[in-house]
């Protein structure tokens, strides 16, 4: 039995191989950069031709933005169901999958009934394991068979990120504010502490909805998923929407006036009290020690 895997650079695709190996003794690979510039319908078309050519019993991709996008296009082309962001999958009829809902705040056991299961694997949920490596499918003849309409949707330009400052995705420390900060101006003390720590500034959805900070600062299920050494949550209640973005954080410090707030229960360290006193006091303490 063969399984086909859509590969991208990075760990997410290596993790995907772990589940794919359960569905095929031999693995075959098509790479995301099979057409340049990127054209999602064309990648899906090549994947479809490759699946036929190697008689793939199942097709896998990492549950990245592009992985989910291309897999859904493959599903639409082939008229097959698709299970996105799985954390586990067992072959059979039906295939049993465990998949993420609510950005990972909830897990679903589901039956996938399909002659050719199409599965994406949620990044950073499955370990990378040693095992047979995939063989690259010879794509030259397949690319030559692409239809013009498959190239209609393609990347035609790239815009570099506008903001300077520290990026949320790569920051070692993030100082983040929630509704408890109280106002747009209230973020001055958050900005000050972040500046002293060389940290990025984050915020919760309540803050961006109120227009206090831009959406690019939002951490959570519909914002940015972060993985800092330390995440300092100031006046953030800790709704599931927010916590879904924090799974990669090594240490969480919660500063909140309500000791019962979910964020205080899900933190490694807590300070109870008024963030308007505590945050400036931390900044002052850092200055004093310099």
């Amino acid at each position: 039995m063969n399984a086909l895997v859509l590969m991208e650079p990075g760990d997410a695709s290596r993790q995907t191989l772990t589940l794919a190996r359960r569905f095929g003794q031999s693995l075959h690979a098509v790479h995301m950069n099979v057409v340049d510039p990127f054209a999602p319908d064309a990648v899906a078309a090549v994947l479809q031709m490759a699946a036929e050519e190697v008689s793939a019993a199942a097709v896998f991709a990492a549950g990245t933005e592009r992985g989910n996008d291309v897999m859904a296009r493959l599903a639409a082309r082939m008229g097959l169901p698709m299970a996105a962001n799985c954390v586990d999958a067992a072959p059979g009829d039906p295939v049993m999958v465990t998949r993420q809902r609510w950005g990972g705040s909830l897990l679903e056991e589901a039956r996938l009934s399909s002659p050719r299961p199409l599965i994406t694997v949620a990044p950073h949920t499955v370990p990378i394991e040693a095992g047979p490596e995939p063989t690259d499918v010879d794509i030259q003849t397949l690319v030559a068979r692409l239809a013009e309409r498959d190239l209609a949707v393609h990347v035609s330009d790239h815009v570099a990120p506008s903001s300077g400052g520290v990026s949320l995705t790569t920051a070692k420390v993030i100082v983040s504010g929630g509704r408890g900060v109280g106002s747009k101006e209230g973020f001055a003390i958050i900005d000050e502490l972040a500046g002293l720590l060389g940290a990025a500034v984050g915020c919760s959805r309540a803050v961006t909805s109120a227009g206090w900070r831009p959406h690019t600062d939002q951490v959570g299920q519909t914002g940015t998923k972060v993985a800092p050494e330390v995440y300092i949550a100031c006046g953030i209640s800790g709704a599931t929407q927010h916590m879904a973005g924090l799974k990669g954080a090594k240490r969480i410090l919660a500063i909140n006036s309500d000791p019962q707030a979910p964020m205080m229960q899900n933190a490694d360290y807590t300070v109870v009290g008024d963030l308007k006193e505590i945050v400036p006091a931390i900044s002052a303490e850092i200055r004093d020690r310099r």
């Binding site: 989910n68 599903a75 705040s105 039956r111 899900n266």
Partner: protein, 254 residues
Amino acid sequence: MRVLATIKRVPITGGRIVLTDDSRAIDTRHLGFTMSPHEECGVEEAVRLIESNKGDSVVLTLGPPEAVEQLRDAMALGIDRAIHLQTDGQEWDGEATAHAITEAIRADEAANGPFDVIFFGNESADSGGFQVGIRVAYALARPCVTGLKKITVEGKDVSCEQEVEGGRDVYVVALPAVLTVKEGLNLPRYPSVPGKMRARSKPVAVNSPTRQAARLELASLAVPAGQGRRAESLGGGAAAAPAVVEMLRKAGVL
């Protein structure tokens, strides 16, 4: 110009998700409901397009009778009318959802002409299937661009910006098109009181499509085990600052 925005009614889960006794659904008895965040931005964008281009804006949902609340919310923001594909509250998988929505779009377009833009959320907040918009686009043979943070209609084309690592990729596709959007596309307005009043009398067309057998079928739900964090108190108030700085120093970030 004609624009359609599709939305999904989802619970506001708050701090902790509680399941029903049979573990097949979220216990929503004490929860409020909203539309998925990405879709709220699709609605806002649809309203803006019609404000600047004139025409017809429509909101569509597939969901239980109560989902009319979210349709009214969308109309309070400025959408002209609604299509409600009513269900009995059962879970529909991505294929069945896309099929029913495609049929409803075809029926509306047969009567009123094609939608120039159809908005979907990139993925729903609850089931996160990442596929309904793409399936509808394929069924209608229209271009589809996903995960958009900015769109600009330029004559017969639409320029789309998709957030990727290290910036944004730009796609330009011909209208009519299907666009799946993400929160951050815009900042949705708050509904005005007159807007809410007007929404009450805007038309809602109700249909009850037949549910296709699910090929991705929910068996049970589980709340994942906690991340094993055990909160250590560093104290209270400003007096905790030295302990915080000590923790930061030990963590190697100071």
